[in-house]
Amino acid sequence: MLAWLKDDVTREIDKRGAAGLILDLSGVDIVDSYVTRGIHDLAGIGRWMGVKTVVCGIRPAVAITLVDMGMRLEGIVTVTSLERAVAVLARAAAEGGQGADEPSPPEAAVEGSTT
């Protein structure tokens, strides 16, 4: 499942010349170590490709569980909502941040669900 998601995300980043990657987890009710690893991998892949990743929409019970599990966020930007995620990436692109040699609005949004 994750392999398929990685293929999709990298293809879309490549095809669209995206300035950012948003992982919206508002529809995900379980985040286990496998999914956490997937998030880190996707963010890492994005970074190698020159794209900044923002995670949004983590549910309260999921956040509590992740902290109890001892999961770390290392290097991952998180915000509450999709709107804020877009704003963060737009700002980064405007400031010519990572991967924004030719500033363009963020446009890669890949939906994932692991229910």
Binding site: I30, S33, Y34, R59, A61, I64, D68, M69
Partner: protein, 213 residues
């Protein structure tokens, strides 16, 4: 129409307007890849898993939804027991991982687990079921409500795989397998109130418990 499908329809008719029942069952059956005309007892669990989400949109409040699911599961008999019974889920595919954790979460709701507890338990079942599937290929998850004495839930994950040779290293949190099993077991231990593991070249059994308070 199989007798089991008839029984499911009868229960659903008590909670939903007539025309929707058929649609929900049919779309659920196609997603679960089961045949409504020849429905077998073992098809009920995957079918209920598929229609569960749709049902939640139509049946409220939560107590009524729980009652509906309990009645539906009782039809399956073997797998979906009410609070006093143990639920056993065979883990043989990725989809079974999802079935196992959603049944565990339902069990938590029935036991009136509050706050983030159902999510923690479902996450643990996800970790254990994934380990079973990934490292042993197949196995089973038992979900047992504890109602005498302290109210809680017991999860047992069993497989007949090769066992974990470096258990101490894995549990110390220093070991990271390529697929992240180390993380999964350490996380499981941290999330639960009790954690017990028996592993040998003949297989692995992990038993965990979480109490309501």
């Amino acid at each position: 129409v199989s007798p089991l499908t008839g029984q499911l329809t009868t229960v659903l008719d008590d909670y939903l307007p007539g025309p929707i029942v058929g649609t929900i069952l049919e779309s659920g059956a196609s997603r679960a890849k089961v045949d409504l005309r020849r429905l077998r007892a073992e098809d009920i669990s995957p079918l209920l898993f598929e229609i569960h989400r749709t049902l939640r949109l139509f049946v409220s409040p939560a107590t009524r939804m729980e009652e509906c699911m309990r009645r539906l599961r009782a039809i399956g008999g073997v797998r979906g027991g009410p609070v006093e019974g143990v639920v056993v889920v065979a883990v043989e595919s990725e989809a079974d991982i999802v079935v196992a954790r959603s049944l565990a979460r339902d069990c938590c709701y029935e036991l009136r687990f509050g706050s983030a507890l159902p999510t923690k338990v479902a996450t643990v079942v996800s970790e254990l079921a994934r380990n079973v599937f990934q490292y042993a290929g197949r196995g089973k998850i038992e979900i047992r409500p504890l109602t005498t004495g302290r109210v809680g839930i017991e999860i047992v994950a069993k497989d007949e795989g090769k066992g974990i040779g470096n258990l101490e290293e894995v549990l110390s949190g220093k070991y990271r397998s390529k697929r992240g099993m180390g993380m999964g077991l350490v996380a499981t231990k941290r999330l639960m109130d009790s954690f017990d593991i028996a592993t040998s070249p003949a297989g692995t059994t992990v038993t965990v418990r979480k109490y309501r308070e």
